[in-house]
């Protein structure tokens, strides 16, 4: 069965490269616990991937997957930090529960990942539209740009997100 030979492949990959990958991650993260976690996550991620494009250059492939996870780890820390700072400025009764915070952080991760590559003004316009529900003329006022520019920004942001989600390169 193809499924079995694939998990053999993964096991081989794991035995051959796990130590190396963990070392590689450690040299980037400077933290053994994080490195061990992410090395593990990298293999989990590969197991979950359906396609069996294994593996001309296993280490290059592992590095690519692991690098994405490293970036995500930092993104999460940035977001958690920014979220906590935002909460710190709120009156206590308005503070969301820890459960809500977790869900919001997950959503913020997804959004930030999506918008990461956008120019600041495009990102800002899109967030004002999506989060605060402002219309184009209001956004134009807020940012001091023309309505036509706002509309172009929003279209660009949508096209970018569309490409990321539905046209992702393997």
């Amino acid at each position: 069965m193809p499924g079995e030979s694939r998990s053999d492949d993964i096991e081989r990959l794991y035995l051959d490269h796990h130590g190396w990958l963990q070392g590689w991650l450690r040299s980037r993260l400077n933290d053994s616990a994080d490195a061990a976690d992410l090395a593990q996550d990298t293999f989990v991620r590969i197991l979950r991937r359906r396609q069996s494009t294994l593996l001309q250059e296993p280490r290059a492939y592992l590095r690519t997957v692991a690098r994405g996870l490293v970036i995500d780890l930092w993104r999460r820390r940035d977001i958690e930090q920014a979220w906590l700072e935002t909460l710190a400025r709120q009156p206590e009764r308005e503070a969301p529960s820890p459960e809500t915070s977790l869900l919001v952080i997950e959503s913020l991760m997804a959004i930030d990942r999506m918008l990461d590559a956008l120019k600041p003004q495009v990102r800002e316009a899109f967030l004002l539209a999506q989060l605060e529900g402002l219309s184009c003329p209001r956004i134009a006022e807020r940012l001091g740009i023309s309505v036509a520019t706002v509309e172009r920004h929003l279209a660009r942001a949508l096209r970018h997100c569309y490409a990321l989600v539905f046209e992702e390169q393997p």
Binding site: N30, R49, T86, D112, E124, P137, E151, A155, V165
Partner: protein, 324 residues
């Protein structure tokens, strides 16, 4: 985002769907516009698909506390930009105010490009494939460019001590260089340290010889064992400091010879997070001694005690020395 890539839709259909989203969701659409949209939506199966995909993108924003989410997301680019700016400021000792809290989180992004790096307060040694032995001082990073022609070590940040290896595996002799944005240091069989500062790079040559090549000059300079040099993009010149003192960090020591307190603190600052300063009144006091780098806070307390000063602790990260 696993699973197969969904079927592609024609570009013009995607653009039409986006155009409708802008007209309907982000503007007040009149009835005629709505009607035109309904017509478009029903006129082709692909239109419906494209519309659904756009809706699924925007649904990710639903259900969040809008104001808090907005404030959080607005902080992010700022934090990232700050981090990039801080990278440039790092080796400059005057890290003012708010900047210094960022220091701890500054380094990770750059570590992605670096092959070897240390965090603040850490020192580490590695052996490279050519048998060279490298030590990195606190908060330092290098990238390696080793190929058939050369062995090139890019010093991205901080300070390196290099004992050049014999390169036994190479088919032919490959020059060994430490490159900085100010220019090159080429090893001629040798042990030396390079420290990258904001205005230039400092060489301490313990053994052998090193050729210095400023980035914007065709002149080269030859340094001999025991000497230390200062390299800028235009020029290189000898410094009075003995080379042996430039590499004291390798042994975990900070050497001070009648140096003003502010300079000693600036140096110590490299080994710990946060801001380290002093009252201008005591800034010029001459300090001498061999200080331990492994516990900067203890060293600070020691200096304070020896000189009749007091450590003023504004926060965990913000320390000042003032007259007792």
């Amino acid at each position: 985002m696993s699973g197969p890539t969904p079927p592609a839709l024609p570009e013009h259909v995607i653009e039409q769907a986006i155009d409708w989203q802008v007209k309907l969701a982000y503007n007040d659409a009149d009835p005629a516009t709505r009607q035109a949209f309904e017509h478009w939506l029903g006129s082709h199966a692909q239109h419906g698909q494209a519309w659904q995909r756009i809706q699924s993108l925007t649904s990710r924003f639903a259900g969040m506390p809008p104001r808090l989410a907005m404030q959080t997301l607005q902080k992010l680019p700022e934090a990232r930009l700050q981090r990039r700016t801080l990278l440039k400021l790092l080796s400059l000792f005057v890290i003012a105010g708010a900047g210094s809290w960022g220091v701890g989180s500054v380094t990770p992004w750059q570590r992605l490009n670096a092959d070897y790096s240390t965090r603040t307060g850490e020192r580490r040694q590695w052996r490279l494939s050519d048998d060279s032995l490298i030590d990195l001082n606190t908060d330092s990073a290098i990238a390696l460019l080793f190929d058939a022609e050369q062995r090139r070590i890019e010093l991205l940040r901080g300070e390196i001590l290099l004992l050049s290896g014999a390169d036994p595996q190479a088919a032919r002799k490959r020059p060994l260089q430490v490159a900085t944005r100010f220019g090159l240091f080429e090893a001629l069989g040798t042990r030396f340290s390079v420290r990258l500062d904001e205005q230039g790079a400092r060489l301490g040559l313990l053994e052998g010889a090193v050729r210095l090549q400023p980035a914007d000059s065709t002149t080269t300079f030859l340094a001999q064992a025991g000497e230390s040099w200062w390299l800028t993009a235009q020029d290189a010149q000898r410094l009075p400091t003995p080379a042996s003192e430039t590499a004291a960090w390798r042994d975990g020591l900070l050497l001070a010879r009648q140096q003003p307190l502010r300079a000693v603190l600036a140096e110590l600052q490299r080994y710990r997070h946060g801001y380290l300063g002093c009252d201008p009144e005591v800034a010029e006091r001459p300090i001498s001694g061999n200080f331990q780098l492994d516990d900067p806070d203890a060293t600070l307390a020691f200096i304070a005690q020896a000189h009749g000063l007091r450590v003023q602790r504004l926060t965990r990260y913000w320390l000042r020395l003032v007259a007792a």
